[in-house]
């Protein structure tokens, strides 16, 4: 009897449709497009600022304050929160487990510390920007 193993190839283009777990992962990874968008936005803003023209700068600010852009920023924020911030904080104890003596520090404490740090950093940035 000869062996003739049958190989099932995973589709390189549609593999992520196989189950919900893969789809959530791909949605998480797709947020990288938003990261790219905001990177270019900051670079553009800096270049406008560096050009030193108040007219151009004010027109850039106005372009970001239109209803369409505010809705876009709001949706982007929600997307980041649900597909980046919350999942990554939840996974933090896996990547960075802390053991004190014989016992592991509870996951909830590591996750909680991340939320506290997040709130402190956000508050600092708001303070720096003069929002609070």
């Amino acid at each position: 009897m000869s062996r003739r193993p049958y190989v099932r190839e995973m589709s390189k283009t549609t593999w992520y449709m196989r189950n919900g777990r893969y789809r959530v992962y791909v949605l998480r990874e797709l947020s990288s497009f938003l990261v790219a968008f905001y990177t270019f936005l900051v670079i553009y803003a800096l270049s406008v600022l560096a050009a030193g023209s108040a007219v151009q700068w004010n027109s850039f600010l106005a372009s970001q304050q239109g209803v369409g852009m505010i809705i876009f920023h709001g949706l982007a924020l929600l997307y980041f929160l649900f597909y980046q911030t919350f999942p990554w904080f939840k996974l933090a104890p896996k990547a960075m487990p802390i053991q004190v003596g014989e016992n592991k520090v509870a996951d909830s404490k590591i996750i909680g510390a991340h939320y506290v740090a997040w709130i402190v950093v956000t508050a600092f940035i708001f303070w720096l920007a003069g929002v609070i």
């Binding site: 009897m1 062996r3 193993p5 049958y6 777990r21 893969y22 996974l91």
Partner: protein
């Protein structure tokens, strides 16, 4: 004890006759306390003796009976009939070549497990007339990772392994981490070339499916992320001339 009629759609493949796998349906009267492995054993004993599959212990120890049940990689000895619908699709583990029916070819992962040197490596002579000592705290650092039974459900769940068969994969990487964390081991630097290779830990993009399906809660995804952090720290230590970790 009530019985329930279950429709088992089982993937069949006979390398001597079939060009490709196909499904065969069996109607099985199951007790409510049965696991899927019991239903498959019923088919083998009472309906179709030609069905090929692996199993041994029936108690989540041997790791032989891993299969896809309704698309999920599971140990069939741990998957209860009462938790499933009336129609159940049973396939061999994904991402592995099919040898016959529900039996897959495991040669690739066996070679990968061997590759990471899953044993204690010592550079010095063993202590005379004494054991290597280990405190409970030192054991707790890696105990969870010793629970792996090599059922390979994690490989069946991993899309990275599905797309790139050169990826070392979850179980082998978790096993490497288990020995790297063991205070008695001095082989960390020997394993580094394999783990830091682009088919090592960095090929993992943290889908996390391996940990979700692991029937023994080993959490290979966590082990791999810890190795990434560890690898990055070691890289900078070397660059900055700070003495490295053990061995």
């Amino acid at each position: 004890m009530g019985t329930r009629q279950l429709e088992l759609e089982v993937m069949r493949y006979d390398p001597e006759k079939d060009e490709a796998p196909h499904f065969q349906t069996y109607s099985v009267p199951c007790n409510e306390d049965w696991v899927i492995l019991d239903a498959i054993n019923y088919v083998k004993d009472n309906i179709d003796t030609t069905l090929a599959y692996r199993w041994s212990c029936h108690m989540m120890v041997c790791g032989s009976c891993g299969m896809m049940v309704n698309g999920e990689p599971v140990l069939t000895c741990k998957t209860f009939v009462r938790d499933l619908p009336d129609k159940v699709r049973i396939e061999p583990l994904e991402n592995f070549p099919i040898e016959r029916d529900l039996v897959v070819v495991l040669d690739d992962v066996m070679q990968k497990l061997h590759q990471v040197q899953p044993y204690i490596v010592r550079k010095d002579d063993p202590p005379e007339d004494a054991e290597y000592k280990q405190t409970r705290g030192q054991l707790m650092k890696f105990k969870q990772l010793t629970m792996c039974i090599n059922c390979m459900c994690c490989y069946a769940a991993c899309p990275q392994y599905g797309l790139n068969k050169d990826f070392i994969g979850p179980a082998a990487l978790a096993l490497a981490h288990r020995y790297n964390l063991d205070n008695r081991d001095q082989g960390k630097s020997d394993r580094l070339d394999i783990l830091a290779d682009h088919n090592g830990v960095w090929e993992c993009s943290f889908v996390g499916a391996c940990s979700e399906v692991c029937p023994k809660h080993v959490d290979p995804a966590a082990a791999i992320q810890q190795m990434k952090v560890d690898g990055a720290v070691e890289f900078w230590k070397q660059r900055l001339g700070i003495p490295g970790d053990k061995s």
